[in-house]
Symmetry: C2
Subunit: 453 residues, 2 copies
């Protein structure tokens, strides 16, 4: 392992240069204008895998391509599949970035860019770990790197691909490399993640903007209707008020909640990462519980009428909102979308047409937080960070986690090296460069640990 | 009058060409990017007045310029001041226009363009009326044309200008040429218009967009707060629920309401002009009453979070809404803004900062609907249209009406030639070309009627 560590040390500057190259490719999967750059990022990843000594292949889909890299250690070696994604969120609002979003910019130890933490650092470090192990002569597992370009748009083509290729993707263990540590000092192994039910609501009144003096008071305003609907989503305490929303929420064992309280979740750090916002939410739960084991509903965006500079006295003809729920076991996203539709239909006011479209539906994920993968990962991380990783849940959603568990192996762990407050999906996203190095060192130890069993 | 009518007939095509020239100048007063074109429009108007035989002068302000045109008939002739404005609203949403917004496009008898009805046709026809009277030898009143370039941004510099120039603007009568007829067949004289109280609400949570999975459920969402505030503006029946809002609303005499019912307000035409929207509003009032004599509150625009194509799972850091009330006598706009601020402050949820900024405050206007001006205008319109004009109120706001009554003369009438459903402030604004001609003919008759007394 000393030789491998030396190799990592010697090549770290190059890995960071490669990180900057990948960041500069604006692989924004949600915006068709950037489809060419998503494809370019796939090419980049494939080329990089080949250079690292892996067999690489690009698999085209009707959306953005998948890239698969492989190393064959032999029929007796265990197989590990590592998932990451090379696509990113849009960079808006661009004016809030302190440096150009697609230029990896150093700020002390931190590296700032769109995709720095979510998920391009992990793409870089996973390939680097395979390379380091190979070049120093010790990649003792059959490795499958499965990197997609559609994570930020719901991984539409990944699951069908995995289902079609269960044989060639057959694996003993799967690591989802798209998450963050428990704290700056303490890594984590994540065994539960929330699901998503995402809808778009369109409210139409007159259908076009009218003069608010000539029509105001006599023609219904779709913004008012939309506001009443949004206001009806929560009760006064912060609980979601959509009937049936909590019906399938599984109670989390008191012992687990207690163990988690013992971790000392840093609320102040979390609050700081949220720009110092007040922490509020469902009564009866701590902040980490609200994130890990409780569902929620958020409006992600709303727009209607005149939103430019100055004033304009219009009565808006239409308005729309994007709304998503984060779900926990055993909530079913399709059922939640139906509950939302039913609830919204009951709020429909006179004279305003409502249309609700389901946009995304991903079930929550829950694995067994023990077994060879968790044990080997735990030892690897403890060796690098000097502390046992926390086994926790997480508020985000990785649709593929559940799909892997169903299609490939129940031995799935979510293991990532971003830090809390990394500004994923927000301006000034960052990851410490030291995390790239520690991530590489952790992964080569995980290979060894799995092979040693 | 025959000779004048012939002159109008002979020159109508030219007037419509001039109309197209003025429309092509994008004099959008609310957007600083168009300040140059607003100035250009002022130059155009001044030049046109001069060509028409008036003394014209541009008065610069700290905002957009005023243009004053004058004709001196003699010390014994009555003086008539006519107000119009040469600025326009923005053209957005541009994709909903069926023809380029700044190109006067003929559609049957209708002329379509931003500003066609509000208010460039009136600028054109008022200058043309003065020219026609002068060229055919009969402009028997002292005429002052006072045209501003800031009507769509609250006429900020007009009232101070009038106050500073009360002597040179001294007049017996004032006509506000910025309104519409009662119906296609029936002109109107307007003696009451609603005021405006306009505010902008900014709700700030984390201050920047956060990942809705990593923060959702634990950090307050400013869109939710804004929605609750907007939902609190009305009760379930459609009445405004801001405490104190109706306290100063003056009861309209039953006799006037009855007389208005006799006019046969065309609700279906109004509904058609509103894109077929349902007509809803305050209970106990007919549509024309909801517009003319009842106050209302409308959100003019709202925006927060991600509003682009596709989905983005963000928890918005801030959200804002533009909100305006239309006011009736004796509501006071500054008091209403304070009531709004107080009401909003009472809705402030934990963890969301609210800032409410007053943007515009214009009191309602109410004149005495009788006297020499109303009589002369009534006869002039009846001669051209074959029917006595309806003496009505109107839902829109013309701040200057009230200011003229206070600073210059109580003899103020609002008299315009746009038609109901003209799409003012909306895409595909239009005015029939025949209305330009009838407007010119009505105005030269009004001059004669005033002079004959």
């Amino acid at each position: 392992m000393q030789e491998t560590d030396r190799f990592i040390q010697d090549n770290l500057a190059r890995y960071l240069d490669e990180f900057a190259e990948l960041v500069a490719i604006r692989s924004i999967s949600t915006d068709p204008a950037y489809a060419g750059e998503v494809a370019e990022a796939a090419e980049w990843v494939s080329r990089r895998m080949t250079e690292a000594g892996l067999e690489a292949e690009i698999h085209h889909t009707e959306g953005h391509p998948l890239v698969v890299g492989r190393h064959h250690a032999g029929p007796d070696a265990p197989t590990l599949l590592v998932y990451a994604h090379y696509d990113v969120q849009p960079a808006d609002p661009e004016e809030e970035w302190r440096s150009p979003p697609f230029q990896l910019t150093r700020d002390g130890d931190d590296l700032v860019a769109r995709g720095a933490a979510d998920d391009k650092a992990q793409v870089i470090l996973q390939i680097a770990a395979a390379e380091a192990a190979l070049q120093s002569g010790t990649l003792p597992v059959n490795l499958i790197l499965l990197f997609e370009g559609e994570e930020e748009v719901g991984s539409v083509h990944l699951t069908p691909f995995v289902a079609r290729n269960r044989e060639s993707l057959a694996t003993d263990h799967a690591v989802i490399a798209d998450s963050m540590m428990f704290s700056r000092a303490r890594p984590s192994l994540i065994f539960g993640m929330r699901g998503v039910a995402y809808v778009e609501i369109e409210a139409t009144g007159a259908g076009r903007d009218l003069h608010s003096g000539q029509y105001g008071g006599a023609v219904p305003n779709p913004v008012h209707a939309l506001a009443r609907i949004i206001a009806s989503f929560h009760d006064g305490t912060g609980r979601v008020a959509v009937p049936g929303f909590y019906d399938r929420v599984r109670e989390v064992p008191a012992g687990l909640r207690e163990a988690w309280r013992g971790l000392g979740y840093d609320e102040e750090a979390f609050r700081g990462s949220a720009g110092g916002a007040s922490l509020t939410g469902e009564p009866g739960f701590a902040t980490h519980e609200r994130l890990w084991i409780r569902p929620c509903l958020d409006v992600n965006g709303i727009v209607g009428g005149y939103t430019g500079p100055g004033k304009k006295t219009v009565l808006p003809g239409r308005a729309s909102a994007k709304v998503s729920c984060r779900l926990v076991p055993d909530q079913d996203p399709e059922e939640i979308i139906q509950l939302l539709k039913d609830h919204i239909a009951r709020q429909a006011p006179e004279g305003v047409q409502l249309r609700v479209t389901g946009v995304q539906a991903n079930p929550p994920f829950l694995a067994e937080p023990s077994g060879p993968l968790f044990d080997a990962a735990s030892r690897a991380l403890e060796e690098v960070y000097g502390v046992e990783p926390a086994r926790v849940a997480h508020g985000g959603t990785l649709p593929i986690a559940r799909d892997f568990a169903e299609l490939l192996t129940p031995s799935v762990a979510v293991l990532g090296f971003a830090l809390p407050g990394a500004n994923m999906h927000a301006p000034n996203e960052w990851i410490p460069s030291s995390q790239v190095e520690k991530g590489i060192r952790s992964m080569v130890r995980l290979y060894a640990g799995l092979a040693a069993r």
